[in-house]
Symmetry: D3
Subunit: 221 residues, 6 copies
Amino acid sequence: VSDRQSSISFSSAEEKLYSAVLADILDDLGFRHQALEPTIRPIGSPFKLVGRAFTILATDVYETPENPYVTELEAVDHLSEGDVVVATTNGSTSSALWGELLSTAARSKGARGAVIDGLTRDSIKIMEMGFPVFTRGFSPLDSKGRMDVISYGVPTRCGGVLVRPGDIVFGDHDGVVVIPRDVSDEALLRAVDKASGEDEMRRALKQGMGVMEAYNKYGIL
Amino acid sequence: VSDRQSSISFSSAEEKLYSAVLADILDDLGFRHQALEPTIRPIGSPFKLVGRAFTILATDVYETPENPYVTELEAVDHLSEGDVVVATTNGSTSSALWGELLSTAARSKGARGAVIDGLTRDSIKIMEMGFPVFTRGFSPLDSKGRMDVISYGVPTRCGGVLVRPGDIVFGDHDGVVVIPRDVSDEALLRAVDKASGEDEMRRALKQGMGVMEAYNKYGIL
Amino acid sequence: VSDRQSSISFSSAEEKLYSAVLADILDDLGFRHQALEPTIRPIGSPFKLVGRAFTILATDVYETPENPYVTELEAVDHLSEGDVVVATTNGSTSSALWGELLSTAARSKGARGAVIDGLTRDSIKIMEMGFPVFTRGFSPLDSKGRMDVISYGVPTRCGGVLVRPGDIVFGDHDGVVVIPRDVSDEALLRAVDKASGEDEMRRALKQGMGVMEAYNKYGIL
Amino acid sequence: VSDRQSSISFSSAEEKLYSAVLADILDDLGFRHQALEPTIRPIGSPFKLVGRAFTILATDVYETPENPYVTELEAVDHLSEGDVVVATTNGSTSSALWGELLSTAARSKGARGAVIDGLTRDSIKIMEMGFPVFTRGFSPLDSKGRMDVISYGVPTRCGGVLVRPGDIVFGDHDGVVVIPRDVSDEALLRAVDKASGEDEMRRALKQGMGVMEAYNKYGIL
Amino acid sequence: VSDRQSSISFSSAEEKLYSAVLADILDDLGFRHQALEPTIRPIGSPFKLVGRAFTILATDVYETPENPYVTELEAVDHLSEGDVVVATTNGSTSSALWGELLSTAARSKGARGAVIDGLTRDSIKIMEMGFPVFTRGFSPLDSKGRMDVISYGVPTRCGGVLVRPGDIVFGDHDGVVVIPRDVSDEALLRAVDKASGEDEMRRALKQGMGVMEAYNKYGIL
Amino acid sequence: VSDRQSSISFSSAEEKLYSAVLADILDDLGFRHQALEPTIRPIGSPFKLVGRAFTILATDVYETPENPYVTELEAVDHLSEGDVVVATTNGSTSSALWGELLSTAARSKGARGAVIDGLTRDSIKIMEMGFPVFTRGFSPLDSKGRMDVISYGVPTRCGGVLVRPGDIVFGDHDGVVVIPRDVSDEALLRAVDKASGEDEMRRALKQGMGVMEAYNKYGIL
């Protein structure tokens, strides 16, 4: 089906997994710098977001171009089922790159959410429509004449992590993890395994087992 | 009525407008630096706040003055119907400039809310009383011997934006916009117009119209 | 009983006090730098946390030690009834020092909560279990090979404040206050007194008394 | 002659003026935000730099383009007599935008110096050739695959100040001032006047006149 | 003589001491937070500066007062032999609080130098006159309408350290140390002792003695 | 000879190479994150420093240990001919990790210099003895009771770059580059080649060749 990028569907991954267990598996696989900076936070009530990275690269500008928004709109029109917008602003807080109309357009193309290394506006409306967005913060300012999308579908760095088109993005209340496309199948499957293994240890701890004894027995923390 | 500062009442503006549309109109009018820094955030459940700026200027000090709070109390006692306290601490995080007792006093004078370029305390009580406050964060520390109000009713810079007494302040979950008093009538009226125009585009996007086509047709984003 | 460290029990202090009134009393006693930096925030719904500081000192490392977690687990196994974990990471945002399994283990030992001068993971599960945690933010990354606990039960600096084992920690939505153990009895008792005294002034303000008149009459703000 | 942009030649301005007196005159003319951020510092032995702003806008990228450097080289080839390169990197410290070969090329086109809102490399060689450069710092890293020049000859913001092509740039050990082109003639002439007026006051102060008396007499500080 | 504040004259202290040995002695005396933040740096060629703190407290303002500079000039006119200006701007980088004319005026009153927790202008002229100044950086902008001195001769916090009038200030290339007035005699005398004791260890190390052996033998590092 | 770690001696590398050309070669070899953060700067007159990394890992502590300095002294006593101390403080600015006595001891063991991801004291004496040190800044404060060396000879992260014992460190006025030990031979040899190739292009540029033409002809920038 359309949301299958790997051995488990995105919906199934959202249900069974969480970012911490994925980060642990990526550590095991030798990928130790896959979590976006902690200043990129989810908007509104807790949610999970998983999908295929569709990258957008923006930068600050200081005059309104002849055709504002043109590359950004083109990018959004290229989104497809299962995509997650991963937009880099090169650290700009000059204005909001993302907003409600773009969320509406993205969702209508099948995008599952957005991760913005910058600011967002129309935050209440985005929460109301239930579109999952991670952002560094909020601004009422439009990007027109302040920021320009210069390319999309290219390798980019978002929140300190290199993201290539097709990498899998997984976000929840703890943050956002980027799973390199070449190991996404293996990582997702192993994460499902590990997630189910933690329950027994939790039970033992609740019954008063010392945490060192528990770690020695179950080998996880 | 007492809350009419411009062609539409503050209550009506709170109902019909939001900060993003006001920021767009201010852009159109050539005022492009009117949004406070995104680190100044609303406390508690989403709300809107609009009113006339009543400015307060505070700074860090390092000993308790003979008459602590004197200028701050004087300022609060000068608040009147429709005012919004806009307090600048020159970036201090040494202590909380604002709190519950000042909120109570300000409200009893008719103030509609407060925007604090610094820290706030008694945050739970402020939320319980439903007094709208924007702040950079929280601190349990009293300002006595740490901060002094040195003047009020003067031009000041709050969150990076010049605010003059009488400017209109509009805040919601996206942030705070300052509308210079000379253009506040025009800005508020034009914003009401623009706000109503966005609904049609939203509908078209939800029905799957490409976002570039929509932008070309409706001319907004 | 086990949660009595001072003249009033921790539960009673949680009920009657709040961080701002404690900070005021500490000011009166000459302890003016007892509030942690405002970037250390509570997780989830508002709560109060009070208990005896059990300090943990961690630092960034760059390879996985032979016996990962060993000192951290040892520390958690030494927690006892009424303790609050106060963990310093020396400002690290490299990974999450704290998480759900440690929260579960800490609670089973009688710990009342945790104050982490660093990042936390499993945040949703921690909120669900209702374990009070203050943190600088969130990360899905495990501390293994990124951070090591190097000692516990030692004087440490957390969020800019010196904390010694046995100091009393009080946290709520305004932040966290550290009460030096030698004055904790006196401070808690005086804070209870002051807290009850503020109600009258609040009533007067609501009835429209000028704030300067109220301050002159009641002597508090 | 080629270095005459205004009523006094650039060489003459370098000789007679300094940034502080120009900033004072711009204040008098109502231009109060014309000094670049103080983190942009001159390289090497003290010098003065004055010339016509030739703006370059760069941004971070994350893969090497097919034709690296192409817009940057094009920009440098368009420099002419009396120009000062004013390059904005949107705050990037990813690599060095400027270096010795570009300095050599710029000088051969007649450029008088460069102001880089980013990092520089080959710093020793640039000092040896005596080419005046202001920079935020140094890096050995090439910009190839890390930064791209996206346009030149456009309005840009450098070190927090809007710079338009043709504005006059004046830099010395105190920092860099941008003189809007429309007032550059007036500003330079008035600055020459003010500079000569300060000598008398300096003499009086050295002879022990109180500084308040001196200020009242000479009206300057 | 006029520069004797303590058992040794300021000139003699400048000759025999350095900031590191004073910091060590203050550590021994239990004063462990007496060094200004490392971002406050000396201007120009290496020098030492010692004298009695004369404190000035300034803050950002946003309009030009009726009588600009008035408190600042009054402060400078109150300087006397052996003073060091210690000026706090509450972290402002809005403009230069200090400059050449104030340096000239301060020196003519007998001041030995200045420590500015803010920016300075006329830096070249200050270096030429050989007036010792520590500063956070440089700006060509005048403080008029940007910063106001609000008091002097009061306790203040400069670079993170509480400074009271009459404390002794000692600065060199490693930074600035504040010696509380009550222990200044003892601290200066003990520092002279320690400084002379380090020579022997240095000789031993140069001759190849292991550093641990040397530390065990001489007890210093 | 003792300073030969690779195909060219350290002295020869210091003479023929500079950090920018090494960074370019490392880019070509696919190592693109090998330059320390630009806030780590050389002390005093320009120098070059090359040698084998000897890593030290320190962290902030908040009480004086029973045996202060013990691991640090042990580390310094283990230095040998050709080593460069590369010390990580995990970003601490609490005190100076490095100083003159340690420089003296390190040199007597054959160390060629030090790179400190933290602060340094005795800076004038270190400059006088001509020992090459890179540092984030200066502090008069001793590390005793403020910082502890917790290990040495381990992989560490210094200024954002992973450094393993035996990697080659090359520093000059542009910054510090870390050459992974496995490619150090190849990198140094290729860098010598590239360095000699740049002269021709420089000559062409000085003679007025357009910089784009030059780049197309020589393929370097």
